[in-house]
Symmetry: C2
Subunit: 332 residues, 2 copies
Amino acid sequence: MIGIATIKEIAKLAGVSIATVSRTLNNSPAVSEKTKQKVRKVIAQTDYSPNVLGRNLRLNQTRTVLVILQTLANAFFSKVIRGMERIANERGYKLLICMTNAKEESERNYLDMLLNRQVDGIIFAGSFINETNILDLEKRFPMVTCTGYLQHQTMPYVSIDDYQAAYDAICVLLGKGYRNIAMLSVANGFLSTALREKGYLDALKDYGISIDPSMMIYGDYGFTSGAAAISALLDQGKLPDAVFAISDNMAAGVLQTCLDRGIQIPQELGIIGFDNNNISRYMRPQLSTVGQPRAELGEVAMNLLIDQIEGKDIPQRKVILPHEIILRDSTR
Amino acid sequence: MIGIATIKEIAKLAGVSIATVSRTLNNSPAVSEKTKQKVRKVIAQTDYSPNVLGRNLRLNQTRTVLVILQTLANAFFSKVIRGMERIANERGYKLLICMTNAKEESERNYLDMLLNRQVDGIIFAGSFINETNILDLEKRFPMVTCTGYLQHQTMPYVSIDDYQAAYDAICVLLGKGYRNIAMLSVANGFLSTALREKGYLDALKDYGISIDPSMMIYGDYGFTSGAAAISALLDQGKLPDAVFAISDNMAAGVLQTCLDRGIQIPQELGIIGFDNNNISRYMRPQLSTVGQPRAELGEVAMNLLIDQIEGKDIPQRKVILPHEIILRDSTR
DNA sequence: TTGTATGCGTTATCAA
DNA sequence: TTGATAACGCATACAA
């Protein structure tokens, strides 16, 4: 009853060979129903559960996939992961999550799980840290990036068109009459960030507005950093008439800071965020934002990964999903 | 260079036995420095990485622990998990996270990783679903609950004193002159919830205030549910002069709904939340709340777990950490 | 339909 | 100091 038996003990108790027990466990048709019953009875009595380590070692697969996150604190990814989980369940895989806290050593550590065949594949949710590690691994193991990717990576990815999303957001602001638009970005070197910055610059340029470099400010995706960045700008006596932030949290920081300083939103300052996180609906006025199809991003990523694991053809290795400009009350 | 070698191939290349390679890998003193160098050179050249499956099978351990979460969407746990991770790293364990979405089947699924010896131990962050499963397992495997627990569980846990925390929060409100205090709870059957409700009731009773059952309202920890619950109450024509919510998200929902309806916070209605999540500082007015030592909760839980795994004595199996009443602007 | 025996990649015991 | 070899728990080719 207590203590975990092995296949050997079950075999002895049931009076059959371990091969027969193994076949029963895998429901092989090559075992008579009678024998199966006998074995199953013993299994039930003894509360036996097969050691997956042994099985994995033998089969060289785990039916487990790992999602690597930089931080759990980003609400954006919780819905993405829900999408991944749905597909993983459907296709018979377990989903494990780990976080690196943006530490390279930690990333390397979890990457090892792939080398060690503790998981069958990995999805990067967001960007990764050490490019060389990954570019080496991606040739040999099933890997997918979801939402962040490198310029020359060969592994499949799924993302929105970050350039176009930013371009569209700025066009909306321009269309509403805002002319002196600041961008609140993150100095992280991610391609997605670079693309959003380029979208911002190109939209202004295409509209014939000259770029003021001091209007490009930086945070770390967080509320506090957004608040600090806009404060610094205002303290310099510079007042843009709109801010495009690449995360809703930063946009919310801008919003509260401006309200605290008595700046009217959206009359004096328009704000548009990114991600359509919950916080964008909690704020007053509610934040306009750029929405991403979060669940679908996760679903596509997981399907790409499992297809790879199972050796299926992946015709479409680079998937771009549509974004959405969501207008609420922080833009006039 | 490409393809993952095995210990056998390394042995052949280095011209030694697999035993020597294994010893080198584990840095055994019983290998001459010269031989070690030779083996290490081959390992470096071939980019070999030991198969952990084989090692785990042999050692019957994984040096990996699993944290079971109901949802990733709860910001509260992200800091708790940071604490866990710190300790896990320190003590040489990998930390994996999974989520059940409150589905029993999914919980069972991940619990199996323990039976299958894919992980050495499990921490429940928050409450679990199927008690009988767990009460059976906790006798045989290293397990710890962090923040949620059952009345008669034998496995170690770490938590704040939910009863006292709620009692204290209500006393603060009473001290500020609020008399008609509603409680916004969750109908989930968790012991932590029951204790918070009892704390609320006892504090009122001890103060000589009679209980109005209609002032006990329910949500699901989320912002929207808090907004809906207070709306329903107000629509009935009932206006409490304070609300004690057992999550900051619900408290924030109450706050915004009341502001939208033109109710003055904190003059007409005081609000106190629970958890000291980021959102409590993002709102205006900022939310008063009950703070928990999140990182420490995670650290203690992880230490309890690893002590168990390593067969160390655990003198203190039930750890209660101090809470903190944080007063901001949503209470007068 | 069942059993025997081998191997998956390690570590550890025992000899040499 | 090193090597041969037996486990660890399982799945499967081959024999019976």
